[in-house]
């Protein structure tokens, strides 16, 4: 097959839900340690693209590669399940609505998957939980249940849960959209910290300021195509395409 040189590579991604074409021939590459932002109006296909990367929404056509391995390669069902579970362990995902496991404590939310999938001991799990929760500033809530946390705290635990699998790549789908405005910053701080540690990240966001401050590159999507991509200085200050300018103008007006 093709010689692989990019860390993440999406080639000719297509996706339809019934007759609705949601992704139309998308290409995207991300290098190790890069942070890529995806912006665009509601329904443009941002989540679908992100979710195609770990095959949560399988593509109808095209390829996804991660670190030299094709994620969505065609294999017999059983083998594919094994393969995709192994791939997903390497990709952390953070959802808009946190999706913490409400029946588990914060500690068990973080350690459940590593214990089950990597067979680590209870002692190792405890160390891992403390380490990851410390990292997101949530160590003091280690014994709490999700129902006892604020939205911002939940999202930080969700990030710790994803990081506990030691992923190579982190995907964020509007991690702060469901939060009260005063709770957004604490989550953004955690994401900035990851950026400083050179975690490779793909971030779908409606927060233009945040995207401008952390991303190396920003993609603007509309109706299933990437209209324009480039460094944030260009996309936000001086975009080439008329449609990008319109989106940004509307978005800034909408926010005001």
């Amino acid at each position: 097959m093709t010689e692989e040189k990019h860390f993440v590579e999406i080639r000719h991604a297509k996706k339809s839900f019934g007759t609705l074409e949601v992704l139309k021939d998308i290409n995207l590459t991300v290098e190790r340690g890069q942070i890529v932002g995806i912006i665009g109006s509601s329904g443009s296909g941002k989540s679908t693209l992100l979710r195609a990367i770990n095959d949560l929404d399988p593509l109808s056509g095209g390829e996804v590669w991660l670190d030299g391995v094709q994620v969505n390669k065609s294999l017999p069902h059983r083998q594919y399940e094994k393969h995709i579970n192994a791939m997903r362990q390497q990709v952390g995902m953070v959802f808009q609505h946190f999706n913490l496991f409400p029946h588990l404590t914060v500690r068990d939310n973080v350690t459940m998957a590593p214990k089950l999938l990597k067979g680590i001991s209870n002692d190792e799990a405890e160390t891992l939980a403390r380490e990851q929760l410390e990292h997101v500033g949530m160590l003091e809530k280690i014994d709490a249940f999700p129902s006892q946390l604020s939205g911002g705290q939940k999202q930080r635990v969700a990030i710790a849960r994803a990081l506990a699998m030691k992923p190579k790549l982190m995907l964020f789908d509007e991690a702060t959209s469901a939060l009260d405005p005063e709770l957004v910053e604490e989550v953004n701080q955690v994401m900035k910290k990851l950026a400083e540690e050179h975690m490779t990240m793909i971030i779908v966001t409606h927060e233009m300021d945040f995207a401008a401050s952390v991303c190396d590159r920003v993609l603007f999507m509309e109706k299933g195509v990437v209209v324009e991509e480039g460094p944030p200085e260009v996309i936000f200050k001086n975009p080439e395409k008329q449609r990008t300018r319109e989106f940004l103008r509307k978005h800034i007006e909408g926010a005001a």
Partner: protein, 218 residues
């Protein structure tokens, strides 16, 4: 002749032994109906139709016919095909499977109602579908139906009196035997009723404790 409770203490040992059997059969059947309910729910929701359809017939048998008939079938019927179960075991199997089918209905609905983001989050971490069900979805579904399952278990306690017909010396049959000796039906049925009531209270207490323990985990 009026009521005379002075005869009661002399037969309390037989009544209490019967109560013990009632508790034993209720607890054993409750455990079977709980795990059976989870197992049946998984069959109903996640297996191929070749497994699911025969299961539906089995489910109909347990939901659509009298429990009494089911107990006769298990105790007297199975002997004919070489399965000779002791009365206690036959009673537990009958009660347990009967209520497992009812619990399964509750658990199925609850599994479907678990937010689909839970399955997604688990799959994203690398869990297989089966692992995600076992670790994430089913525990939440079961937690959500603890109160109605608790009600089923109270119903199970009351229906456990039916196993007297296959000769298990539980509370109701013990009371009958004492009545046979004393000709004091009113007194001893009342005593039996009081003992059922006490067992019932204990079960409600256990249920409340479980509910309090899981209150935080919602």
């Amino acid at each position: 002749m009026g009521l005379d409770f002075t005869v009661v203490p002399g037969f309390m040992d037989i009544i209490l032994l019967g109560a013990l059997w009632t508790v034993a059969i209720t607890v054993a059947s409750a455990v079977l109906s709980f795990f059976g309910g989870i197992f049946f729910a998984v069959i109903a929701l996640y297996t191929h139709w070749t497994v699911r359809l025969p299961f539906k017939a089995f489910e109909w048998l347990f939901m659509g016919t009298p429990l009494l008939l089911q107990l006769f079938l298990i105790y007297f019927g199975l002997v004919q095909i070489g399965i000779d179960l002791p009365a206690f075991v036959a009673g537990v199997v009958g009660l347990g499977l009967h209520f497992a089918v009812y619990n399964s209905e509750l658990i199925q609905t609850a599994i479907i109602a678990v937010d689909k983001g839970q399955m997604e989050a688990a799959r994203t971490l690398g869990l297989s579908r089966g692992e995600a069900l076992r670790k994430v979805v089913i525990p939440q579904a079961v937690r959500d139906v603890i109160p109605p399952i608790g009600n089923n278990m109270i119903a199970l306690l009351k229906d456990s009196a039916l196993v007297s017909v296959i000769g298990v010396s539980e509370l109701t049959l013990s009371a009958q035997r004492v009545i046979g000796k004393t000709y004091r039906p009113f007194e001893f049925y009342l005593v039996a009723a009081a003992v059922y009531y006490v067992i019932n209270l204990c079960m409600e207490w256990v249920q409340r404790r479980i509910e309090r323990r899981i209150a935080l985990s919602r």
